[in-house]
């Protein structure tokens, strides 16, 4: 990042004044956050770059019309654009399949998975590894805190399909978390043996 972080108000002032570097400053300050948002929905890295490119173009085109409403409003506005572009891309390319996988691990374990100590990067990778439909519903429900009703309206599916996809996403994610723990416990065990 170039220099210290600037406030949203300052960034908007610079952009509206036509400062040549202002757009790059905005990009530099928020590209990592917006990449994280987008990559939760778009699994392929090439597609991710395309969607982010379109999102930033849209942000730069319409930032002049944005009404600032306090610190955080610009970040939220940009993330909504990225989310919108991601969903449109998924729908247009028919990547949103809500077919249910025939998987043994479709039931949630009795004990909820323990996420304590698991790095955020690992959780992010696990979410990206979910099938498209599961991942989209999981993101919208758990992270965007949308209801099944809203998700059904957004994605053009039934509420029951949304609930079913979420249930399966949670089961798959729980299995991945458990597997991650087992793998890391095994690795830690081997390391401890070697150094003992």
């Amino acid at each position: 990042m170039d220099g210290p972080k600037r406030t949203e108000k300052e960034l908007l002032r610079l952009i509206n004044e036509g400062d040549e570097q202002a757009r790059y400053l905005l990009y530099a300050q928020y590209s990592r956050y917006l990449s994280a948002v987008c990559s939760r929905y778009i699994a392929d890295d090439e597609d991710l770059k395309d969607v982010l490119q379109e999102s930033f173009l849209k942000i730069f085109r319409s930032i002049g019309d944005f009404g600032y409403r306090g610190e955080g409003s610009l970040k939220a506005w940009m993330s909504r654009i990225v989310l919108n572009e991601s969903l449109v891309w998924l729908k247009q390319r028919r990547h949103l399949s809500f077919a249910e996988l025939d998987d043994e691990a479709m039931n949630l374990p009795d004990a909820p998975p323990d996420t304590e100590g698991i790095p955020a990067e690992a959780i992010h990778r696990m979410i990206r590894a979910l099938p498209d439909g599961y991942r989209t519903v999981f993101n919208l429900y758990v992270i965007e805190e949308k209801s099944h009703r809203e998700i059904a309206a957004l994605l053009g599916i039934k509420e029951s399909t949304s609930a079913s996809q979420l249930h399966r996403a949670k089961a798959l994610l729980a299995a991945m978390i458990t597997q991650f723990r087992n793998d890391n416990d095994t690795t830690d065990g081997r390391l401890a043996e070697r150094h003992s």
Binding site: L57, K58, N84, E121, H124, V142
Partner: protein, 414 residues
């Protein structure tokens, strides 16, 4: 939300990841590509516009100068044939029907039932038509069954009925007991129009906890206005109101008389079911118009209870299977009271609707072949197990009123 999901939410909410390699360069490249043709058009655009304008002006001037020279002396307009439009009577008459040799012996008078035109709303709905249904709305949806008979197009008012009456054979006798002398064919065909009641429904929802995203402006939601509406309504109490329009049904039925009292009938019916849905808050909302078209096949029995002079009283009971052949939805999205987008699509659900009904019929035989009838009755709609919200689900038990013209076919008994 469970604890582990809450933990994932909290961690992912502010998580950051490396941007793809070369993203900024790709953005700059895309911006400059988008700007270049626009700039080119700007520089030479005004020059080209002037050139085109001059060319058009020159052509007009030339045409104006040359035309008087090219035109000869004025010629009178060609004489049009004096043709008076003839409106043929399109009403079916007994003569127009193919002669039938029923399997069983035909008997009695022939009555041909005539029906009405199809109801409004059969055409494809236009995207920007504010009244896509063309149906009565609001209070009209809650009128009693007697009122719909006025809007369903009573046969007496139709040109078909008026034309029909001119073809009727005159009654040679005076007050004659028709119940003895009237002989009916075993086959009867009826064309009918029916309607039922509409209704309204209203539900309130709470939008959930307030978050920073609820203070966003209403800009840039054109691609996903629904997402914008949900975002703007976060934390607010949203409302869902549904206005069900009166379902309108039309069709024809064929009845085979087993004997003088009993008959079995079947046929084909078309039904139009529409509803208006409002969801959101006063400022941010979605207006949806839902249209469903059904084709159905009824199967029933009728029992003639009594006859007196020109009147027949009977009961019918039937079961009907109606298949939704088309379901469409037209939505309009409003943010801060302004239209942000429109969407029209066909719905994927095509439910099969079962129903059972019973009617009491009153038939007036104004000739040996033709009669008019009214059949008030009730009908029960079974749950079609689809997510569509229709008046069939809102009011599974409903009253109905069938009106129609009837004609019996086949040879008269001698």
């Amino acid at each position: 939300m469970e604890d582990w999901q809450k933990d994932i939410h909290d961690r992912m909410e502010h998580f950051e990841a490396d941007a793809p390699q070369g993203l900024w360069e790709a953005i700059c490249s895309a911006e400059s590509n988008a700007a270049a043709p626009a700039m080119g058009a700007g520089k030479g655009g005004s020059r080209r516009l002037w050139s085109w304008g001059a060319a058009v002006a020159a052509c007009l001037l030339l045409f104006g100068m040359v035309q008087p020279i090219l035109n000869g002396p004025e010629t009178p307009p060609a004489r049009m044939a004096q043709v008076r439009p003839v409106y043929k009577n399109k009403v079916l008459t007994g003569r127009g029907l193919p002669t039938q040799e029923p399997v069983c012996q035909a008997a009695g008078n022939a009555l041909l039932a005539m029906g009405n035109t199809c109801p409004a709303g059969m055409e494809e709905f236009p995207l920007r038509d504010a009244d896509a249904f063309g149906q009565p709305s609001g209070e009209a949806a809650n009128e009693q069954t007697s009122a719909p008979s006025q809007s369903s197009g009573a046969p007496a008012a139709s040109p078909a009925a008026r034309g029909l009456q001119s073809d009727l054979p005159k009654d040679p006798g005076g007050e004659v007991d028709r119940s003895e002398k009237r002989k009916k064919g075993r086959f009867e065909i009826a064309l009918t129009t029916a309607t039922g009641n509409g209704g309204k429904a209203r539900r309130l929802y709470n939008g959930g906890a307030v978050s920073a995203s609820s203070v966003l402006g209403d800009s840039e939601w054109a691609d996903s206005p629904l997402l914008g509406i949900m975002t703007m309504n976060r934390g607010a109490e949203t409302e869902r109101k549904i206005t069900y329009h009166m379902p309108v049904r039309t069709g024809f039925s064929v009845c085979y008389r087993i004997n003088d009292r009993w008959g079995i009938e079947t046929g084909l019916s078309y039904a139009f079911v529409g509803s208006d849905i409002f969801e959101g808050t006063a400022a941010n909302y979605v207006e949806e118009k839902q249209k469903l078209h059904y084709l159905g096949i009824p199967l029933g029995v009728s029992c003639r209870l009594a006859s007196w002079r020109r009147l027949d009283v009977y009961l019918t009971g039937n079961v009907m299977a109606e298949q939704c052949v088309y379901a469409g939805s037209a939505k309009r999205f409003y943010i801060a009271g302004k239209l942000q987008g429109e969407e029209a699509n066909a719905l994927s659900q095509r439910p099969l609707q079962w129903s059972v009904g019973a009617k009491a019929g009153l038939q007036y035989n104004f000739s040996e072949r033709f009669s008019v009838y009214a059949e008030p009755g009730c009908i029960y709609y079974f749950d079609d197990r689809s997510p569509l919200e229709t008046v069939f689900k809102k009011r599974p038990f409903d009253f109905s009123l069938n009106l129609g013209l009837r004609c019996s076919l086949g040879k008269k008994k001698v």
